[in-house]
């Protein structure tokens, strides 16, 4: 049995756990804890190790989706999670511009780890507070070549589209090499 993995990363509360939960065929192995830091208390719990979802591709191939912890003090886990990934998805909360700088830092860190393809997903696009994806592209200083996809992490079709766009990028890179 061969296994491959895609890493879902992004700032605190970007929606990584929901993203994985939406397409995983198993209940996501969550490692959530109650938040103790007052400044980060915009939700009750957060991922402290990693989320872990699975999609069986066929009888001898399995895709794992790994979500990184959102809080900075768990940054040391990124390197471990990145090992052997096919590519990664940077999830950004479109309603919280205060996290855009952190999203850039995460993106640059992951790019330093591995030259794998990636896409950026502008999550929570269904909320009225959400920034337009093209405004986010400027704010995140993403070049026009980088795929920035509108996303709603709780919507299966939306999550599928993000995963497919990443896989298309991976395929393009194979064909270009």
């Amino acid at each position: 049995m061969q296994t491959v993995k895609i890493v879902v990363t992004g700032p605190f509360s970007a929606g990584k756990t929901a993203f994985i939960q939406t397409v995983s065929e198993i209940d996501v192995v969550e490692t959530e804890r109650k938040i103790t830091n007052e400044s980060e208390k915009i939700k009750e719990t957060t991922t402290v190790a990693m989320d872990f979802g699975r999609i069986t591709i066929d009888e001898d191939l399995v895709l794992y989706l790994f979500g990184t912890p959102g809080q900075r003090r768990f940054d040391f886990m990124w390197e471990i999670l990145s090992e052997g990934m096919l590519g990664f998805i940077v999830l950004v909360d479109s309603t919280r511009p205060e996290t855009f700088r952190e999203a850039r830092r995460i993106l640059e860190t992951f790019r330093a780890y591995a030259p794998t393809p990636y896409v950026v997903a502008a999550n929570k696009q269904d909320l009225p507070e959400a920034w337009e994806p093209e405004d986010m592209r400027i704010a995140l200083r993403l070049s026009p070549r980088v795929k920035l996809l509108p996303c709603v992490a709780t919507d299966k079709e939306s999550v599928k589209k993000v995963l497919l766009e990443l896989l298309y990028s991976i395929l393009e890179e194979i064909n270009h090499d």
Partner: protein, 272 residues
């Protein structure tokens, strides 16, 4: 959709850059710590700007620029207070007091000054309203933002200098080995003492900033001062290691195998 946030996270230069590059039309409102600003943009160009803490009607702008005497200003206020800026501007041009170009130059200069003042704001909630109408009765201008952004960036040189000096807030600090200096005899501010109390090779600058509730600029300013005074040194945190390159899943496979694997993934995800 909303375009809102805080200048702490998204600076005025970045905001103007976004408006410029996206050719936005609409009203930008910023609630600063002491006053509020409103600026209108058309196709990414500045059309209007005002601050809540200073008079911004045409008569006041002309008086401030010494284009009107105190007597003329009082007379306009007394007789034409209800006139909009556009109506007053037309009246003054038709009466031969000013040319249209002179009025526009004064208005443009005032709007630009408002934007320049915004460059000093590091905190303030902003909201951009894409569908808002142009402020009624105001005189519109068409000022390119590029030069303003460049000028604003110059004002932010201090920030850049500090960023160059202290590029990585994930570095830690330790006291310099200077037995001749007794911290108790130094004239440090309350903020500097607060930072000093957290100095330890295990604490990153970012953690100190969080603990002392300082933003990036404030913590960099203080750390820079302490560094320049030779009181502290930058050190890599004890628990931080350099990232090492990792291996990807496709390494060592033939192109055909790589393509086959990715195509299988695509087919499965499509069918979910």
């Amino acid at each position: 959709m909303a375009l809102k946030g805080n200048l702490r996270d998204f600076s005025i230069t970045q905001l103007l850059n976004l408006i410029n590059l996206a050719h936005k039309t609409g009203l930008l409102r910023i609630r600063g710590p002491k006053s509020e600003a409103a600026a209108y943009f058309r196709q990414g160009k500045l059309a209007y700007a005002a601050l809540s803490d200073q008079p911004n009607d045409l008569a006041s702008l002309l008086y401030r620029e010494k284009k009107l005497t105190a007597g003329q200003y009082r007379a306009i206020r007394a007789h034409h207070q209800r006139l909009s800026d556009t109506a007053l501007g037309l009246l003054l041009v038709n009466a031969g007091y000013f040319t249209q170009g002179e009025i526009l130059a004064v208005v443009q200069s005032a709007y630009v000054d408002v934007i320049k003042r915004l460059f000093t704001w590091v905190d303030g909630h902003f909201e951009f309203h894409s569908n808002a109408p142009f402020p009624k009765g105001r005189i519109p201008t068409r000022v390119s933002l590029e030069n303003l952004i460049i000028e604003g960036s110059r004002q932010m040189r201090e920030w850049e200098l500090l960023q160059n000096e202290i590029p990585d807030l994930d570095m830690a600090l330790k006291f310099a080995d200077r037995p001749d200096v007794n911290l108790k005899h130094l004239n440090l501010s309350v903020e500097e003492w607060r930072v000093v109390s957290y100095i330890n090779p295990k604490n990153t600058i970012r953690q100190i900033a969080r603990a002392t509730k300082m933003n990036d600029l404030e913590i960099r300013r203080i750390v820079y001062g302490l560094l320049q005074a030779g009181l502290v040194e930058l050190v890599r945190p004890a628990n931080k290691s350099m990232p090492k390159p990792i291996h990807t899943a496709l390494e060592g496979k033939t192109k055909e195998d790589q393509r086959s694997l990715v195509n299988r993934l695509i087919a499965r995800i499509r069918g979910l």
